[in-house]
């Protein structure tokens, strides 16, 4: 520790070089942070589906394939199922020429509060949802994006059903992305009025009483419909979301490859500077050894120099990444729908802190060889050569 001032001063030996090296490392670290954050956005979505007792049942053929509405009652009767509701994709658009801007679903009012107890929605709001036939719950992201308030009335024209419905917003869903939910009964009535038959559902979401019973319950549900017309596939919500974004796995691999390349970059930047600055000082280092400094001490202080510079750069880089992520979050989220949650650009403290440590270790790694070589040089030989 008492050598810290010496280490620090040595970085100030060539301030321009130290600055340029630190700046290069900082930017590379910022880049690594941003890149690593992208898959983290996906992980966050997966983690948010933490409810480990909520399961989904869909047609084995795909979620665009429907199932008979009668399935719901059967699922509700399975022991272990506390509550179950159905989902139907409404595909409603505010402006038909712009198409569907956010997901919207017709759901059963009965059981919604139990299945989605973790939505963070006030029980009073759930009450209102049941009370008003035309009630709608809206996910936070969409709620804020359109600047809606509780009590607002909005109209959606369906792109799958031949109806247009008006909804009264009764509340916001804080933890949900941006979907809108309304009563299935409301849709059923409108379709009946239009003379359209409506006895199917898209998906069933159920809550199981006990996490340990989830496996058996899922199997029981699928067995129940095994020989029916529409074969079902039941999985946990986490698995469902994981599968939904499974296509992104390959992109994540490529992003990780690139992040690794950039990290390698940092090694080269740090190693270059370390070797340059140490090479210049062979005479001085020889004097220090002459005075009595042991080679371990010399080695440690030289290593500390590289590590310290990289550490400072890492902190600067993480701070830069933080600022940039905030900006990206504001302007680039949802850009490139091909990437889904990869463009959430969340700010992950874990990743930022890891980046600082990565920088530090890279500095140590990069400085190792030049520092080792310099500490081992024979004093007498150096004095002979230099003088």
């Amino acid at each position: 520790m008492k050598y810290l001032p010496l280490v620090w001063r040595n970085l100030g030996r060539n301030p321009l070089r130290s600055f340029l090296t630190a700046a290069a490392i900082a930017l590379a670290i910022a880049l690594v942070c941003i890149l690593r954050t992208m898959p983290a956005g996906l992980d966050a979505v997966l983690a948010s589906a933490a409810a480990n007792t909520r399961i989904s049942t869909h047609n084995e053929a795909g979620i665009v394939y429907s199932m008979p509405y009668a399935y719901l009652a059967k699922v509700r009767s399975v022991p272990g199922v506390v509550a179950a509701i159905s989902w139907n994709w409404f595909g409603g658009a505010i402006d038909i020429s712009k198409g569907v801007e956010f997901p919207n679903f017709a759901v059963d009012a009965d059981g919604l509060a139990e299945v989605y107890a973790d939505w963070g929605v006030d029980p009073k709001v759930f009450e209102d949802f049941r009370k008003y036939r035309d009630a709608a719950l809206v996910g936070r992201a969409t709620f804020e994006k359109h600047g809606w308030k509780v009590g607002d009335v909005i109209t959606l024209q369906s792109t799958v059903f031949p109806v247009t419905l008006s909804f009264r917003i009764v509340g916001e869903v804080p933890t949900n992305g941006g979907s809108l939910y309304f009563q299935r009964e409301y849709l059923a009535q409108a379709l009946a009025a239009a003379g359209v038959q409506f006895d199917t559902l898209g998906m069933i979401w159920s809550r199981v009483d006990d996490p340990d019973r989830v496996g058996p319950v899922m199997r029981q549900i699928d067995e129940m419909f095994h020989n029916s017309e529409a074969i079902t596939s039941t999985e946990t919500e986490k698995s469902f979301i994981g599968n939904f974004f499974s296509g992104l796995k390959q992109l994540v691999t490529i992003i990780q490859i690139v992040a690794a390349l950039v990290t390698l970059c940092i090694v080269f930047i740090a190693a270059n500077t370390a070797s340059m600055s140490i090479r210049e000082r062979v005479g001085e280092i020889a004097i220090l050894k002459a005075i009595g400094f042991r080679k371990q001490t010399i080695f440690t202080t030289l290593l500390a120099e590289a590590g310290l510079l990289a550490l400072v750069a890492g902190i600067a880089g993480a701070a830069t990444a933080w600022a940039m992520l905030k900006g990206l979050q504001m302007y680039a989220t949802g850009a490139g729908p091909q990437l889904g949650p990869l463009t959430a650009f969340i700010v992950s403290r874990v990743i930022l802190v890891q980046a600082v440590f990565i920088a530090f270790f890279i500095g140590i790694l990069a400085g190792w060889v030049p520092a080792f070589g310099a500490s081992r040089r024979s004093v007498a030989q150096t004095l002979r050569e230099v003088f």
């Binding site: 001063r9 002459a290 005075i291 400094f293």
Partner: protein, 236 residues
Amino acid sequence: MIDLVNVSRLYHRGADEIHALERVSLHVDRGRFVALMGPSGSGKSTLLNALAGLDRPNSGEVTVAGKRLNEMSEDELAAFRAHTVGFVFQFFNLIPVLSAVENVELPLLLTNLSKAERRQRAETALRVVGLSDRADHRPRELSGGEQQRVAIARSIVTDAELIVADEPTGDLDAKNAEEILSLLQTLRRDFGKTVVIVTHDPRAEKWVDEVIHLDKGILLEKRPGGAARGAAGATG
């Protein structure tokens, strides 16, 4: 104080074999001011390195201040140098990013003294060489002579018994050279240090107790220097 017996040192430069020292034996009493002189390549620097514990001879025995250097490991030699020897070189003496007083303090980092104690000793040493007012200056702000004086201050800050200096006046003009040599003599006279210098400078002869001539790695002659003969002019 210093005893070298049949010391030989051989090293390789590229494909050549250089016989730097050939069975050199030397004895220096405590408290003497000695100059090692000779042409380029005579082995004087190698001899200095050997008695300062900087380099190991290939054969022969080196005993300094009662310690047998041949038997010491590298770390033990480092510790020996830290406590027993003070160094002054021709170039690169001072760390450019540290101030004068910080440079003087440097060897004290190897001790257990507190920060305050280190600073105090360093300031005292600077006083001895007459540079107290330049304590906070960086080396590039000091003249060549001043830099050497700081180096000398550093060499005494640990109370080393032996001071070695390799061409301490090599880069200096006449006036500064005289000042440095006078200072070195003071170390021996007032502080009882043993001082061994390597030099080309014939002016050094009048300041030292003994002059040792080397050539081609062999000790040629020893004769008393100006100080031993009680020559005048060396007042300070």
